[in-house]
Subunit: 208 residues, 2 copies
């Protein structure tokens, strides 16, 4: 499958396609034209075709796309079928909110453990996920290598933790620390969820 | 101040500038060149100058920027000094996590109340914020108009709630429902925090 020179903007739209197609599929829609898909997603039909062409293109123009087939193709491009192993570091409010409410499995991940620096929390079971002490991290990893760590810990220990994870061999970090992590190992992918940047963008827009 | 034709990408970088300048200021840095600022932010000096030119440009090239002045200019562009009134709708895990941990004030907002559909929660005080029943929303708004609503409620009631807020006169929605809200009133700004899209983007990147 083609995958070269796919721009960041196209990559960011793939989950949105998946989300919409999944909903259409659940609503029993079997076929959809690029025009109708574009309309419900707030894009243009030509943009959709261009996006899909980055991956070799799929579906038959004019006849519309088979929703289930297209959804599965995109799922496979994103890799949501891979169920990468993930751990969560920090079980404060955000960590707990994610454990309880977020569907990791649907997004391609299998959340297998949580870690925290607070010894009082160790051994606890939060929403089916066992909490280990952060000192156990390497020992745990040696037995069960994980691909991704979700960082929901405070800012101060975050940079060192990111380097520690990279050193262990973690391939991706989902970063909720509200700070930019500068990784020595550039092959570790960091995806930021910057609440402050998001809210300040809204602040700008309503202040205009 | 110039503000026309500012692209979405530039708008999204303004909070990041503010965040970095605030940190430099807190660390006692008084002056910084566009080159050094670019380096620590992972941008180029020319991009920074272009971004600032959208707002008329500030600082003296060659002499560097005065950190505090620049920070204040950007704060005023974003509007973080306005302290817009905000309410939060839905005090589940995400709602509580935001109330307890997120610095609304620093991002330009004054969080004044919370609402929930669960009568058992009404009257409760969460981190200094009083929880009202959702039926009280209009009555509350009549006395205390708010600019922004933070939607941390489930998906199902979300579209109707968004329209209700727009009808009341709310100008912005910070959307944590993980669904795209299609507003009838296009002047209401919606800023999405799509956890699923973010994690699936990471999934793609580590699957490459």
């Amino acid at each position: 499958m083609l995958r070269e020179n796919v721009s960041g903007a196209v990559i960011r739209r793939m989950p949105k396609y998946f989300r919409y197609l999944d909903e259409l599929h659940q609503n029993g829609v079997a076929k959809i034209s690029s025009r109708a898909l574009a309309e419900c997603m707030g894009l243009t039909a030509s943009q959709i075709r261009q996006d899909f062409n980055c991956f070799g293109g799929f579906g038959q123009q004019g006849y519309g796309y088979n929703v289930e087939t297209l959804m599965n193709e995109i799922a496979s491009i994103i890799g949501v079928n891979r169920k990468h192993k993930a751990i969560i570091i920090g079980v404060g409010n955000i960590g707990r909110a994610l454990i309880h409410n977020f569907d990791f499995y649907k997004c391609g991940f299998n959340l297998i453990a949580a870690f925290d620096a607070d010894r009082a929390l160790c051994g606890a079971n939060i929403g089916g996920i066992q909490v280990h002490h952060i000192d156990e991290l390497e020992k745990f990893y040696d037995k069960t290598p994980i691909e991704v760590a979700i960082m929901t810990l405070p800012k101060a220990p975050a940079p060192q933790m990111a380097e520690r994870l990279a050193g262990m061999g973690v391939r991706g970090i989902w970063n909720f620390t509200n700070m930019d992590l500068k990784m020595t190992n550039k092959s570790v992918m960091v995806e930021d969820v910057h609440f402050a940047d998001s809210l300040m963008t809204l602040c700008y827009r309503i202040s205009e």
